[in-house]
């Protein structure tokens, strides 16, 4: 099993890189912290105008995309790197309208890491700490190590 420091360094490098994966960059992702022991990822986001729905706030799918980012990282850091956690199913609850162009805080948290399944939860808050959206998901652990 990989040491927590080793896992954290691996993900810090990927998530603080100058060139983030396209989907991650679109969402205005900025890593706050990774907690390998707790299976947790905290990050800030800022959605572009391109995510605006007819009502003037963020379209729900982009909110799901934000939560999928932090929940997938949380599901990945509880495995020996390199690994990822493809989402099988995810439920998002849209509690309040989510603004575009404003700072958002998100957390992804592993609820259980099994051998064949990982269960995660996610939250999205505005700058004042008001809860805007919540999600749960089931994923599978997937090692990317060369055999």
């Amino acid at each position: 099993m990989a040491e927590p420091d080793q896992v954290r360094n691996y993900w810090d490098q990927i998530l603080n890189a100058d060139e983030l994966p396209p989907a991650t960059a679109f969402l205005g992702f900025q890593l706050t912290s990774i907690d390998v022991e707790k299976g947790r990822c905290d990050a800030q986001f800022r959605l572009p105008d391109a995510a605006t729905n007819p009502g003037g706030s963020a379209q729900g799918g982009f909110i799901t995309a934000i939560l999928d980012e932090v929940m997938s990282v949380a599901g990945s850091v509880v495995q020996p790197p390199p690994a990822m956690s493809p989402t099988l199913q995810m439920t998002t609850t849209f509690i309040r309208p989510v603004p575009v162009g404003e700072r958002l805080d998100a957390r992804g948290q592993v609820v259980r890491k099994g051998r064949a399944a990982i269960f995660t939860e996610g939250w999205l808050w505005n700058e004042d700490g008001t809860l805007l959206a919540q999600a749960t998901a089931s994923c599978i652990p997937k090692s990317l190590a060369k055999p």
Binding site: A23, A65, L67, D68
Partner: protein, 154 residues
């Protein structure tokens, strides 16, 4: 008082409704971002089909489309289905949405079928399926939404 949202507005034919959306100059930014195009409307069945051209910028490190953006396409289809079901008098913000990711989707062409399961006074229930360019089912979603008159949103 009738709860039918279509009240006094004339009902358009499916072809006219489709044209109205295709020619709309007031597309929200999210529709353009997703490369959305409404291609079929069946008002009697409360069903629509949308085509998408998914850009590379929605891909995750594996090159496949990040799941949230597949959810965005299906949310777009289900929301538009609600607007059409109300004869363009109401909108329906999504309360909750559950998505199953069956296969990976690569950037490029995709289409989504959305259908209203129930259009009630205080709740709407919808379902959507997303297919890749080969017609393979890649994701399926169910959602609940809150129907409300257009003006209350602004």
């Amino acid at each position: 008082m009738s709860s039918t949202p279509t009240n006094d507005k004339p009902v358009l034919s499916d072809a006219d409704m489709l044209a109205r959306f295709q020619n709309s100059k007031k597309r929200p930014p999210c529709s353009d971002t997703l490369g959305m195009r409404l291609i079929e409307v069946e008002q009697a069945a409360k069903r629509i089909r949308m085509e998408f051209d998914v850009p590379q910028m929605f891909s995750n490190p594996t090159g496949a489309v990040q799941g949230g953006f597949i959810a965005a396409m299906m949310d777009e289809a289900m929301s538009t289905c609600c607007i059409i079901a109300s004869n363009v008098t109401m909108t329906a913000p999504t309360l909750e949405m559950k998505t199953s990711y069956l296969r990976r989707l690569m950037p490029g062409k995709a289409h989504v079928d959305a259908v209203i399961l129930r259009w009630g006074r205080s709740a709407a229930f919808m379902e959507a399926e997303c297919f890749d360019a080969d017609g393979k089912l890649v994701a399926k979603a169910t959602a609940t939404a809150l129907p409300m008159p257009f003006k209350r949103l602004s």
